[in-house]
């Protein structure tokens, strides 16, 4: 029963946050730009959560997460343009397809790639991410619509506070339930000791693939939301450095912690986008000098991240609710 109480509490606190945000959005206290970066934060959290499932829970290091994010964004944008989607009703299937295509690609790539371990998996996923970037850069040779290195233009702006927020809340809840299910337990066993997990009869290859596919699906959903929030896509938004962004969020927040990803994602968007409003331009470039130092510091003092395997009971994400 505690499990369900937790879900209820999470939904309740989400509702409170939503109402709070809604008041600020309606009253006009937030400028257009602030509204946009708040929605971006939800998308970043969702996508990072996908990486946390792959890396934080299952221990499969991936440096190509932004590639799947990009696939989701381009798929959704392409389908939406072809079928001339303009309203929310048509957006839902497009959103799902964006996630599904990214997930399917994750599955196809995952079959061979997940046999590799640690740093070889890292370099293979990194290579895959760069491959996606190259393909997106050349995508105008396949279809003029995709824009290639000029970027994909003319996507309608559909994503609003309700869409971004509730999609995130729903998928966090799904992820939480998965983590607390036996699959989640198996994933964590694989992370702790893959050999021992196999000996206990856990189908390690299948479960790693499942985690990877699901993580890529989340990235695809995040990408699709991104496309219909920013209305413009460019291959450079989905390159290697973007994958590093998600990695930093997962690591600093804590491996195997939804709460950690939630807070770190918010903090990340506040630092990267929010500081643009506050700080003068010459101070802004210093952000990227301190972020790597923070990353190295976390690795030295708390190698598993700040909130590793801890969940907030206040938000209802913990097991006890």
């Amino acid at each position: 029963m505690n499990f369900l109480t937790g879900a209820k509490r999470f939904l309740l606190s989400s509702l409170l946050v939503y109402l709070f945000l809604k008041i600020f959005f309606i009253s006009g206290l937030f400028s257009e730009y602030v509204q946009q970066i708040i929605l971006l934060a939800f998308i970043v959290i969702l996508t990072s959560l996908g990486l946390n499932v792959i890396y934080g829970y299952t221990g499969q290091f991936s440096l190509g997460h932004a590639g799947f994010y990009g696939i989701g964004a381009y798929t959704a944008a392409y389908l939406g343009t072809v079928f001339q989607v303009e309203g929310l009703l048509g957006f839902w299937p497009i959103l799902f397809l964006g996630g599904a295509v990214a997930g399917l690609l994750g599955y196809i790539i995952g079959v061979p790639i997940l046999k590799l371990r640690d740093d070889f998996l890292a370099i293979a996923t990194l290579g895959f991410g760069i491959l996606i970037r190259v393909l997106l850069d050349n995508s105008d040779k396949v279809s003029e619509l995709l824009g290639g290195s000029r970027g994909f233009i003319g996507i309608p702006k559909i994503v609003n506070l309700e869409t971004a927020f509730w999609v995130m809340v729903f998928l966090i809840l799904v992820t939480r339930n998965l983590i607390f299910s036996r699959f989640g337990l198996f994933w964590q066993c694989i992370k702790d000791d893959e050999l021992a997990a196999g000996v206990f009869g856990i189908n390690t290859a299948g479960l790693k693939l499942m985690a990877f596919t699901y993580g890529c699906f989340l990235a695809g959903i995040g990408g699709a939301l991104y496309a219909y929030l920013y209305t413009f896509l460019h291959p450079s938004n989905f390159d290697f450095l973007k994958s590093i962004d998600f990695l930093i969020i997962v690591i600093v927040g804590g491996m195997g912690s939804i709460t950690g990803t939630l807070y770190a994602g918010l903090l990340w968007v506040a630092v990267i986008e929010g500081l643009r409003i506050v700080l003068p331009a010459q101070m802004l470039e210093l952000r990227w000098v301190f972020i790597p130092i923070l990353l190295i510091g976390v690795m030295m003092w708390k190698p598993l991240g700040l909130l590793s395997r801890k969940e907030s009971n206040l938000l209802g994400l913990g097991e006890r609710g």
Partner: protein, 296 residues
């Protein structure tokens, strides 16, 4: 006949690029040998080498025979510092923590140096140290820059070979990459040899940086990322941890990159190289010269 001349020209161009990749790949492969770490910051050491050479040549007007040793000293010192400050405290940490730290070091070097008060993120023209002269031998054309790149690379490979296979330091390095624990029991000073490996690798990356500046006279703070990753792929292709594998891998990557640009499309060249990486990792993860396939 024109096609044949064009082909020859592309082969020389490919070998020129491959020689630079080989120099960087050596650093990756040696560090991977002793520490089992993909040193992501290695590409940035290469970048620092190019910038140091740029400053020595265009700002201080030093003669070219001083530029080489000075640049290599600077990058060797940088490699030493990176290992001491960032990697040594994590000697017994999980592999991935070390890898993430390496990514952090790489980002730090790039963004710290790209500050407007330092090197700025703009492209800078690398000065030619001497005028370009082309030599023609029938259909075969080669420039003095290409000649100097080939001769300097071969010379340093020879020195490295002697260092690794004929000196005590090299023996210790090979012992470490075989089995760190046993080597330390046999009296090999592990920390010292790891530092030494970083110093040698970083000096070679610095050399690669100078030669890259000669050949492709546009440098930038972020120039190290792609050559760095490609050189690592070269090291994997040849068999990670194997010295001559890194050289062969570098040449193959350089040649395929130039050939794809010349005969297919220059925007596809990175894609093709990562495709090659996939094939290698899936079919023979231990690389061309790797003997046994154990856990990777």
């Amino acid at each position: 006949m024109d096609l044949f001349a064009y082909l020859l020209e592309q082969i020389v161009n490919g070998l020129q690029l491959g020689a630079v990749y080989a120099l960087i790949a050596l650093g990756y492969t040696m560090v991977y040998g002793v520490l089992r770490l993909i040193n992501f910051a290695h590409g940035d050491v290469f970048m620092v080498g190019a910038f140091t050479a740029y400053y020595l040549i265009s700002k201080w007007h030093l003669p070219i025979y001083l530029v080489f040793p000075l640049t290599m000293t600077v990058t060797a010192f940088l490699g030493f510092l990176i290992e001491k400050i960032a990697y040594k405290p994590l000697r017994n940490a999980p592999k991935i923590s070390l890898l993430i730290t390496a990514v952090g070091v790489s980002l730090f070097l790039e963004y710290f140096l790209s500050l407007n008060s330092l090197l700025t993120p703009n492209y800078i023209g690398f000065p030619r140290p001497f005028d370009v002269i082309s030599y023609h031998l029938g259909l075969f054309t080669i420039t003095n820059i290409q000649l100097s790149i080939f001769s300097i690379t071969s010379l340093s490979l020879g020195v490295l070979y002697l260092l690794i296979y004929k000196t005590k330091y090299g023996q210790a390095m090979r012992a470490l990459s075989h089995d760190r624990e046993t080597a330390s029991l046999m009296g090999v000073p592990v920390d010292g040899i790891i530092s030494f490996t970083f110093i040698v690798g970083a000096a070679l990356a610095g050399l690669g940086g100078i030669l890259y500046g000669f050949a492709y006279p546009q440098i930038n703070v972020f120039m190290g990322i792609m050559p760095g990753i490609k050189s690592f792929i070269a090291a994997v292709l040849g068999g990670i941890g194997i010295i001559h594998g890194a050289v062969l891998g570098g040449l193959i990557i350089g040649l395929s990159e130039v050939f794809v640009s010349a005969f297919l499309s220059s925007t596809l060249r990175d894609g093709v190289i990562f495709f090659v990486l996939f094939i290698v990792l899936l079919l023979k993860p231990s690389g061309i010269f790797g003997k046994k396939i154990d856990k990777v």
